[in-house]
Symmetry: C2
Subunit: 430 residues, 2 copies
C-alpha cells in the first residue's frame, strides 16, 4: 500500500488527485446513505459505558435476597463507617488487599475518588499541607483517558499534564521525568486494566515503575480499577498488584485504589470500594467519620448474599462477557470490513472493559461526531478523552458499544462507518 | 422553697450545713445502690439518637416492595443526579418546597451537609470567594446543639461562636448583632424543630428574624430539619417555612435545608434530601455532577412505594410516636419523681425529636457521665453538645431514650438518678 493513497473500503483514492473519480463516487454513495439515515430519524447512543438491559437482568435476583422475614436488625440501624465485615471480606479479595485495607461505600466509586481529592485539597495527603494552600497542584493524565477524571481535576483547579498512552500503559519515561522533577505534581490518574478508552492493561514493568519512581511525598496514584474483573475473553492479561508493588518499593502510601460493582450488578445501585494501605484507610476514615455515620449496609448485605464469593463474581462476569462479546465484535468487524486497508482509521481490539478507542484521520474526529449526531446517533464528544477536551490531533473517538441492542448497534455501526468516510473525504477535498 | 436549700427527692439538704445528717444519709443510700449497679455489670446506652428495633420493624415491609419480577429497568442504570421524580415529588411536600427545589441523595443527610460545606470551602457560596481562601470563617452555633455539626466546623477549621438557646430558638438579639457586624461570619447551624437536644421549636418570630437579618452575602443558614415530622404529641408546634420567609425577605439563597428518612424508615438505609432555592439547587448540582453520576435510585423507589404519600408518612410517624412516648415519659417521670423540688436539676419536656436535655448543678455533668459509665451506662459525653466540647457550666447532658427497651430504660433511669444525686452531693461536700 502506497502511503500517499487513501484506501477506504472498495475505494482507492489518490490523495494528490482531487479529481479522482473514485473519490467523487465514494462521496456520493456515502452521502446518499447519510441522507437516508437522517430521514429515518434514528435515536441511537454509543456515548457512555452503560450496561444494557440484559446485563442488568443478571442481577435481578439480588432484589429477592432481603425481605421482611429475614432482615437482620443491626444492618438497618446507624453505624459501620468502613462497610460491613462480609463485604470487606469479599471485595478485599477482588481488590487484592486485606480486609483492613478496604472501605466499602455507597453506590459510586467516582464519588469516593472525588471525596478523596476534596479531602486532599482541604486537609492534605500523608501529613503534608492541604493542596488548596499550594499555588499550583498538577496531575499527570495518561490520555486518551476517562473524561470524568479530568473533570474532577478541572473543577478543583488542578493543572493537567497530558501523558501519551502506549500499548503497555502511560509513557513511563515521561511520567518518571516529570514526577521526579516537579514537586507540584501530586498524582496520576490510572485505569490500569482495560483502560478507558484504549483497553490497555498496564504491564508489570509499568506497575513497578509507578511504584518505584521518585515523586513528591504527597504524590498519589489514583488507581481506578473500574474494570478489574471485566474481561471479555478468558485469556485477557492480568494486572500486577500495585499496592504490593508499592509496599515492596517502600511507598505503601502511594496508591489509592477504587472499584465498584456498577458493572457487576447495577450501575446505579451497586456498591463502591476504596482500598489502600492501613495508614491511608485510617486517615480517610478519620475524616469520613465527620462526613457520615455510615453507608447503606442493607445494599452491601444484599450484594454479598447475591454474589456469594469470588467464584460467584467470576460466574456473573462470564455472563456479562457473553452478552458483550458480540457487541464488541460487531463494531470491530464493521471497522475491519471498511477500514482494514487504510492507515487513516485505526482502533484497538480490547480484551475487556467497556470501550473501543477509535482514531480517525487527524482533524476529523469532531466532524465525525457532528455528522453522527445529525444522523441521530450520539457519540462521546470528540476531545472528551483528553484533559480540557484538547485532543491536539482531533483524532480520538471513544466508542461505547455495550448499551444498544444488537440490531440498533448494527445500524449505529453503519452510521459510524458512513460518517467516518464522509468526514475523511470532505477533509481531503475541501 | 429557700434558694440555699438543696432538695433532692426525699432529702432536704442545707447547702450551708455540710454536716447535715440528711446529706450523709442520702449519700450512703445512693452509694449502696451504686455499688449494686456496678456488681450487676450492666451494658446500657443512652448516648445516641438511635431508633429501637420496634421502630425499625415498622419499615420492614419496604424490603418486600421491589423484587426480580417488578423491577423497572431505568432505575437500575446510571443517571438521575437530582433523585427520581417520584421521590422529589414526595419529599418536596415534606420539606415544604417545590420539586425543583429539592435533591434526593443517598442515605445520609449529614453527608449532604458535610459535602455542602466542603464545596463552600473549595468553591465558595453565591459566587463569592472560596472559604478556604479566607483568613477566618466563623459559624454561629446555637448551643447546646448537635455535636456532629460542631465536628464538621472543627474539622474544616471554621471558628465556632456559641449562641445561647432560648425557649423559642437561638438568642436572636445576639445572632443579629454578630451576623450584621462581622463579614467573616458565614453561617449558622439550626435544628429548627425539636432542636437537638433542647427540643425547642423555633418560633415564627425567630424564623422571620433569621430570614430578614443583615448578613454577609455568602451567609448560609444550615437548616437541619432532622425531626421535621417527628412529633411525639399531636399538639406539637409547627415550624414556619424558612425558604418562604427568606424569599419574602429577598434572601432566597440564604437557607439550605436538610432532612432524611433515617428516623422514618431505616437509619442506615434511608434516603436524605437537600432543599433550597432553584439557584442554590442548580449550583449544587453543577458540582455534584462532577462528584457522582447519581444516587441509588432503587432505594428511593422502594421508599416512595412504601411510604406512598404524605399521609403514609404521617401514619408511620404516629406509630413511631406510640413506641417512643412511653420511653420519653419514663425518663421525664424518673426526673420529676426525684428532682421536681430542686433547682439543681432541670430538663425539658420535649413534644418531639429524639432527646431530653438535662441540666444538672453546674460543675457536675462530667461527673455524672463518668459515674454512669462506671456503672455500665453510656451517655453522650458531657460537653459534647457545645462547640469544642466546652460547656462553660459543665451542666448539660443529652439523654437519648429511644434505643433501649423499656425494661433497660427503667434500669438506666435508676442509674442516672443515682449518679446525679451522688455527683451533686459530692460537689457539695468536697
Amino acid at each position: 500500500m502506497k502511503k500517499n493513497n487513501i484506501h477506504i473500503g472498495e475505494y482507492n483514492m489518490d490523495y494528490f488527485d482531487r479529481t479522482n473519480s473514485d473519490l467523487q463516487k465514494a462521496y456520493e454513495v456515502e452521502k446518499k446513505k447519510y441522507t437516508s439515515f437522517i430521514k429515518a430519524k434514528l435515536n441511537l447512543n454509543m456515548a457512555r459505558g452503560k450496561p444494557c438491559k440484559e446485563q442488568l437482568d443478571l442481577s435481578d435476583g439480588m432484589l429477592d435476597i432481603l425481605n421482611s422475614k429475614n432482615v437482620v436488625s443491626d444492618y438497618r440501624n446507624y453505624g459501620g463507617l468502613e462497610g460491613i465485615k462480609e463485604a470487606r471480606e469479599l471485595f478485599a479479595k477482588v481488590a487484592g488487599v486485606s480486609e483492613q485495607e478496604i472501605i466499602i461505600g455507597n453506590n459510586s466509586s467516582l464519588n469516593m475518588m472525588f471525596d478523596y481529592l476534596m479531602r486532599a485539597m482541604q486537609f492534605g495527603v500523608n501529613g503534608k499541607p492541604a493542596w488548596c494552600t499550594m499555588k499550583t497542584v498538577k496531575f499527570l493524565c495518561p490520555s486518551p483517558g476517562y473524561d470524568r477524571h479530568f473533570a474532577i481535576c478541572e473543577t478543583l483547579g488542578i493543572e493537567m499534564i497530558t501523558i501519551p498512552m502506549k500499548e503497555d500503559g502511560p509513557d513511563m519515561d515521561l511520567v518518571e521525568t516529570l514526577a521526579s522533577s516537579d514537586e507540584s505534581i501530586k498524582g496520576i490518574w490510572c485505569v490500569p486494566r482495560f483502560s478507558n478508552p484504549d483497553g490497555v492493561v498496564y504491564s508489570d514493568e509499568v506497575v513497578d515503575r509507578l511504584a518505584n519512581m521518585k515523586t513528591a511525598s504527597d504524590f498519589v496514584i489514583m488507581w481506578d480499577n473500574a474494570y478489574c474483573v471485566h474481561a471479555l475473553y478468558s485469556d485477557a492479561p492480568e494486572l500486577k498488584n500495585i499496592l504490593t508493588a508499592c509496599k515492596e518499593a517502600g511507598n505503601s502510601n502511594r496508591p489509592i485504589m477504587f472499584g465498584s460493582t456498577s458493572k457487576i450488578t447495577y450501575p446505579g445501585s451497586g456498591i463502591a470500594f476504596m482500598s489502600a494501605s492501613v495508614t491511608n484507610i485510617n486517615s480517610a476514615l478519620d475524616k469520613m467519620k465527620i462526613q457520615s455515620i455510615g453507608p447503606d449496609k442493607l445494599t452491601q448485605l444484599a450484594h454479598v448474599k447475591f454474589l456469594k464469593d469470588i467464584d460467584g463474581i467470576k460466574a456473573i462476569m462470564q455472563l456479562h462477557a457473553e452478552i458483550l462479546r458480540p457487541k464488541f465484535e460487531m463494531v470491530i468487524s464493521a471497522l475491519t470490513n471498511n477500514f482494514s486497508d487504510t492507515d487513516l482509521v485505526k482502533w484497538n481490539n480490547p480484551t475487556g472493559g467497556y470501550f473501543i478507542s477509535l482514531y480517525v484521520k487527524n482533524g476529523c474526529a469532531k466532524k465525525v461526531c457532528e455528522l453522527c449526531k445529525k444522523a441521530g446517533m450520539i457519540l462521546t464528544p470528540a476531545g472528551a478523552t483528553y484533559p480540557l477536551n484538547l485532543d491536539d490531533y482531533d483524532s480520538n473517538i471513544r466508542i461505547a458499544p455495550t448499551f444498544p441492542p444488537l440490531d440498533e448497534l448494527e445500524k449505529a455501526c453503519d452510521i459510524l462507518v458512513c460518517c467516518i468516510k464522509l468526514a475523511i473525504i470532505e477533509s481531503i477535498t475541501k
